[in-house]
Amino acid sequence: MFRRNVSPVLSRLLLAALIGFTVSPCSAAQGGGHVPAEHVPYSRALRASGPALPRDAVIPQIVKDDLGRPFPLPARTPERIVSMAPNITEILFALGLGGRVVGVTRFCDWPSEAKAIPKIGGLIDPNIEVIRSLDPDLVIAFRGNPLRLVDRVRKLGLPVFVLDIGEGLDELFPLIVKIGRVTRTEGRAAELVAGLQSRVAAVDARLRGALSRPKVFALLYGQGLWTCGGESYLDDIIARAGGVNVASSLPKKWALYKRERIIKDDPDVIFVLARSEADFASGRGRLARTPGVDGVAAVRTGRIFELDENAASRFGPRLIDVLVRMAALLHPDELGGRT
């Protein structure tokens, strides 16, 4: 008797609970959860940074990272920095902060001192526990790190600054300035940027008189004809070096190119992005043996050159080296002897 009376009540209660639960997250999503980052109150942004703030800090200045999230600037240069991408590691070293970097990814192999620093995992599989154990006072993440992992690190109370890479060479300089800002090495960042910019300006000046714009195909060494499309910074570097990327019309960062299109485009110069001399030799050999491709101008005239994949694939200071080398190879008359 008792059971028979209770069951319907219970089932109704459960259903009601179910409905209530289904509805409430909706309203919360519209109300609380959707606050855009720029509307986060000042005080809350401060509190969010919690234990990361040095105790003697005055009210810190708030900057925004590339996700638009507020980040309180530390009062002085952080002592224990974790870098979650190779290009960030490289810039940190270029700013003279190598000694303060306590964690890097397993891909961070430049400069070679970075290899000795404890590894936090890879770009898409950084280990949260390892990052926490390094007890950093600054974590610099990259947009390519899975956001959910980056957010999990932030929720542990660590100060996380997220940076994006750019689609063009000009975006490298603000990136360096931002890293300089957040590590309080603004002066050194300005010097570094000025130095790099003067080298770019020198290339620009030498190329002003160039008459030709050679057609360029950039091959990423490996399986298939992978190349850089119009959205990649390499496309911009090719243009700045006085060339025309034949794959420029592809609206992608990296794209698989069709063999027929290379034959039709008939590039004057082919750059092979290789990790080693041997890779370059085998990549060049493969191009020369590919039916059809063996007839394009670059192969016939032997203008196939190696580019350091390690430098070219990282949005860091070494891109200027890549630019200078590329310009010298594309325009030997204007930039002769400057490789």
Partner: protein, 329 residues
């Protein structure tokens, strides 16, 4: 061995394994820690160790246990509900529906987090429940309420949701990493907020299902017989369906789809302690939680990078299940 003694043994072993699993989970991880570190930490808490032991490892172990319990209980309920040993949260479409929600959220960049759920988790939860409601309504309209109809409708709706999921994955191939997380499950992002969100519902559903267990036993005789014996069949069925859907949707929302637990754990338990639903529900929850605790331990220690937990549950669960099945014969 008498059934009662067998049950006691089962409970003793399960509880021991469960506690051992929690201890191992707290002590194991990429950062090397010893039991001495843990004792030292309890005596004098330290910021870094507190984050590692409590915020990362313990929260993860608790969440894995809760999800395992929820999935196994959901499976035990559905197998009784459909009087079909093949039933699990997949057949009524909850899992596929939830996966669709998560993948769509990842594809459109839906980030509105609430209640410890991430944006995709929230959408997974809603679409999981949505698809069950749809299946239920569709099944009702075909004249009365038939178990076969809901089963087939559920399978069809699940297949449709899976097709849409594949479509979104195809369209947004750059969300692949997110998709793997949702389609194969992981506790990598576990945090206390999620555990606190699902814990009350898991406990509530467990208590309610134990309370209604006798009605579930009667359902095994057929709906007419159960009705004749005084069980309010339709209401009982509604309550059980709602509970199993809620449990499965909550699980997917925090950890992605984790297959096999809901299907196999109730069978293990049935083989070991018999078919009575009261004991079955309680034991399935304990065994499911413990099982997933160990699976997660393997998922995060087997390789330097984390494996999706769905890979482990099937790889470990299937052989053990076959062994039990054949030993029984």
């Amino acid at each position: 061995m008498s059934r009662k003694a067998g049950r006691r043994l089962f409970w003793a072993v399960s509880l021991f394994l469960c506690l051992a699993g929690f201890s191992l989970s707290i002590l194991t991880g990429p950062v090397r820690t010893t039991p001495g570190d843990l004792i030292g930490f309890i005596k004098a808490p330290d910021r870094v160790l507190s984050a590692i032991f409590i915020d990362l490892r313990l929260s993860r172990a608790v969440l894995a246990f809760l999800v395992g319990a929820a999935l196994a209980l959901s499976g035990a309920i559905l197998q009784g509900y459909f009087r079909n040993p093949m039933a699990d949260p997949f057949v009524v479409g909850v899992s596929s529906g939830a996966a669709l929600g998560a993948v769509v959220a990842a594809a459109i960049g839906f980030e509105a987090a609430a209640f410890g759920f991430s944006g995709p988790g929230l959408l997974a939860f809603l679409s999981g429940l949505g698809i069950v409601s749809l299946v239920y309504v569709l099944s009702l309209r075909r004249g009365g309420f038939k178990v076969e109809t809901i089963l087939l409708t559920g399978i069809a709706a699940g297949a449709l949701a899976s097709a849409l999921t594949s479509f979104f994955l195809f369209m947004r191939s750059d969300s692949y990493d997110q998709a793997v997380f949702w389609l194969l499950g992981s506790f990598q992002l576990a945090e206390w907020g999620q555990a606190a969100t699902i814990a009350p519902w898991v406990v509530l559903c467990l208590l309610a299902s134990v309370w209604l267990a006798r009605d579930m036993d009667l359902l095994a005789l057929g709906d007419e017989s159960a009705q004749a014996l005084g069980s309010p069949v339709r209401r009982v069925r509604k309550a059980f369906l709602a509970m199993s859907a809620l449990l499965a949707a909550l699980s997917v929302a925090v950890s992605g789809i984790i297959g096999f637990v809901g299907l196999v754990v109730p069978h293990w338990v049935r083989i070991l302690i018999g078919p009575g639903h009261r004991a079955l529900f309680l034991s399935s929850a304990l065994a499911g939680g413990t099982f997933l605790l160990y699976c997660d331990l393997l998922a995060r220690t087997l390789l330097p990078a984390e494996l999706p937990i769905g890979v482990i549950t099937a790889a470990v669960g299937a052989p053990f299940f076959l062994y039990l099945l054949h030993k029984k014969r």
